[in-house]
Symmetry: C2
Subunit: 448 residues, 2 copies
């Protein structure tokens, strides 16, 4: 509790806005999936908001912003709280602004949509598909996660094999942002300007609306292919990703024994087999079969789109859901996020670490090329050993987006983004937004 | 005239089928755009069919096949006759089978269509777009060229920046083929089997129907961007092609002075400027503008999809239409077809040949990567010099699909395709189909 504050006055100024103070609720709404990391676990477990607010529209957001500026209260924005690095955990308490009641779809046109940030991605997709469109990419948490949270704290996911990542030019068109200036304004960012708030962990303004480009909707069939040998499975994944005539949305490859952790898929991934979990256009199933044959794989599971939509999608066993399922079986496991860039490095790391680092590949486009990235499962022992594994990968040319830090620049970006820092100086002069997450800000201002 | 034949009997056996014997018509229906090549011009100018037939359905095609086998008449299939290498020119006379009356669209479903081979690509696209789909790729001759001719003699075109080429697995699903056996059969080829007739110049059976995958239809905006410097334009083309968040269909880059040959676009391409001719999704116009800015280009022409559909599409100034327009101004020009694979080679060739080989780039996907290919305009002097230019390109690692030969293997493929040869032995045991085009067949049988 930021106890020096006059909470009674604050509550009064928040009249008309839903507020939450129940301690159990505060706990739930202060945390995310930081516990995937044994490093973050002790660092973040006790962080709590003093108050959660749930505005229903932009005007209420502006009202909250005004209150925070007036009283200099830390403000952390929260979507569904499914981030993995404590992105939405309020390090210094204060107010958590929960966006989930701002969930209107404003419009869906030919290839573009405008939404309020709190809309869940699966709910959005359902609507968009009625008009023949869908999200270009979504995280495996799409059933609960919000679009605002994806832009604020995510990077890519199912669909990235076609469209790259959120950071790629053209994947976010526009945003409306409420500032934390003395008189909070509403800014409209367009085109490249959105990079100022893209993957900024909510340190650079409260996004209230987004304009996003869409992809044409296909009926996506879901397929599991098994292979006796992991590197063959990996080569198959690359070939499918590079197959220009094959329409796909998801190319996941898991080395044995990862399949064993995917309990619900047990019957389709026999022990000892590596597997590929795929989403391909129904109309690409025939050429897929031919490719599987070329690589000596076995199709053990195949659902056409309509059937796939009924049950749990294979998507919910990929990206960081693989980690989720594995940790459900063995909570001592943790993970890494790695760009291998090519299969030679995959093979080298596979050789070097064996079962200590079980390789889970996601293929995605980077600068026009499909490359293997990994969300490896790591048998965790000590922080030192984890650090050594990371160093060894980096020494061999892998790029690791470290998921064991809540600091923006220490994760994927690695460098301070002068654009984001400059924007923060403008929109959050008091450094109230998600304080402690942007290293550049801390270095520049907090130590003054 | 294959005068040893009993043409009276042949005509009688063709009863019910439209036949053409008028010499002017025979001339027109025996030739194609072979005259783009000063090498092919003298070799092919005097080749003529004895008779042209225009079947209206598969049964009539089978009837023609039967007649040809019985009398051992050479049979050359012709779509619209827009090939550039004399693919459909009957080297040994005989019958030309014109497919243009077989132009029914059989069905269009979610992402797949079945057609008779004589359908014009533009006509097909118009229908498909009503259902939200379009061809994955088409040549710049799409207004007149047939789908059968594209599969039989083409390779790729507008759309290849997304889907690669026709030869890539998954870009043709199925075909029905009439054989030239003693009792002509109808074969159904599916999946990889279609490679036996893909780009076979009609030497491997008469395709009557095709099943092809489609792409989702976008409203395509058309844009011209100019640059003071060719290599900057080329780098821009590569960046656009690699921009995973930008949806495009055509990325053409022409070095100065090629723009000067595109008479109808004169006002948009000032003298001294290199240019990019583009088709991008309307919803990608904003990020395109940002990219143009990054490369210092100037947008001189921009039409939204609806407007673009009214006039002549920019597509009709790209691929081999660039050559067409240039030759209309200066008939001494000819061309090459080159895979540069990367911009370093483009720069090296640009440096080395200057204005003798004016570089026209088409970006397309090959094995998952967008690469620069070229349809360079060559200031032709002698066959020796043309040969030397080709050799020099190849010596530096370019791959040239020589457009100055009518021999299948001497063009793009370079090697004998054992699959196609084996298939021909089966379906055309007498070697009647487009004789003289497949070197492997000639070497194996004609010299016996
Ligand atoms: C099992 C599992 C699988 C996952 N798979 C993926 C994946 O495939 N790809 C991927 O990218 N991520 C993945 N994630 C991470 C996360 O689920 C996604 O990034 C998700 O999109 C986050 O959405 P959220 O609504 O839960 O955001 P939150 O976790 O609530 O917020 C994320 C960040 O964005 C900020 N934020 C939220 N809303 C706003 C706003 N309106 N304005 C400004 N800032 C805001 C928050 O402050 C926080 O820093 C996964 C996580 C888990 C646990
Ligand atoms: C200005 C210009 C631009 C061009 N641009 C391109 C381009 O961008 N991309 C490209 O790939 N090509 C291009 N071409 C070449 C050509 O236009 C295309 O390949 C076109 O698709 C050929 O179709 P068509 O109906 O004219 O075929 P035709 O020229 O009539 O036939 C082509 C070949 O296919 C065979 N064939 C035709 N129908 C059948 C059938 N039913 N069964 C078996 N074999 C058959 C013929 O025997 C012949 O060998 C261009 C040509 C010109 C003149």
């Amino acid at each position: 509790m930021t106890s020096s504050l006059d909470w009674q006055a604050i509550h009064a100024e928040l009249t008309g806005i839903e507020t939450i103070t129940d301690p159990q609720q505060l706990t739930k709404l202060s945390l995310d999936y930081y516990h995937f990391s044994p490093i973050l676990q002790p660092q973040l477990a006790d962080k709590r908001a003093d108050l959660v607010v749930r505005p229903v529209n932009e005007a209420q957001v502006q009202q909250v912003a005004q209150v925070c500026v007036r009283h200099k209260i830390p403000l952390t924005v929260r979507g569904a709280g499914t981030g993995n690095y404590g992105q939405c955990i309020p390090l210094m308490g204060g107010i958590v602004l929960d966006t989930t009641r701002m969930n209107q779809i404003l419009w869906i046109k030919e290839g573009v949509a405008a939404v309020e940030v709190g809309v869940k991605m699966a709910a959005f997709d359902k609507q968009a598909r009625l008009q023949g469109w869908e999200l270009r990419m979504y995280p495996s948490t799409y059933r609960t996660a919000t679009l605002g949270g994806f832009i604020g704290g995510g990077s890519g996911g199912i669909g990235s094999i076609n469209y790259g990542q959120l950071r790629d030019r053209g994947n976010v068109y526009g945003a409306r942002v409420v500032t934390l200036e003395d008189h909070p304004r509403i800014l409209t960012l367009r085109g490249d300007e959105v990079q100022q708030i893209n993957h900024a962990y909510g340190t650079n303004g409260i996004i209230t609306q987004l304009e996003i480009p869409l992809a044409p909707a296909y009926p996506w069939a879901e397929v599991i292919v098994t292979f006796g040998d992991f590197l063959t499975a990996a080569r198959f994944g690359q070939a499918l990703s590079d197959g220009d005539g094959l329409v796909k949305k998801l190319v996941t490859v898991c080395a044995d024994p990862i399949g064993g952790y995917l309990t619900a898929l047990q019957e389709f991934i026999p022990p000892g087999q590596s597997c590929a979990l795929l989403m391909v256009a129904e109309s690409s199933l025939d050429p897929l079969e031919a490719l599987v044959k070329d690589y000596g794989g076995t199709i053990t599971y195949q659902k056409r789109a309509q059937e796939a939509q009924k049950g749990t999608s294979l998507a919910e066993f990929t990206w960081n859901h693989t980690t989720l399922h594995a940790r459900a079986v063995d909570p001592s496991l943790t993970y890494l996020q790695t760009f291998y860039f090519d299969l030679e490095r995959v093979a080298a790391m596979y050789e070097q670490f064996g079962d200590e680092v079980m390789i889970h590949l996601e293929f995605l486009r980077v600068a026009g090329r499909a490359i293997p990235a990994g969300l490896q499962l790591v048998r965790y022992t000590t922080p030192e050993r984890l650090g050594a594994i990371i160093e060894c990968h980096e020494a061999q040319g892998c790029a690791i987006a470290n998921p064991h830090t809540y600091i923006l620049e220490d994760g994927g970006r690695k460098v301070i983004d002068p654009l984001q820092l400059a924007f923060k100086e403008q929109v959050d002069p008091y450094g109230l937004l998600n304080p402690g997450k942007m290293r550049a800000w801390g270095e520049k201002f907090d130590r003054k």
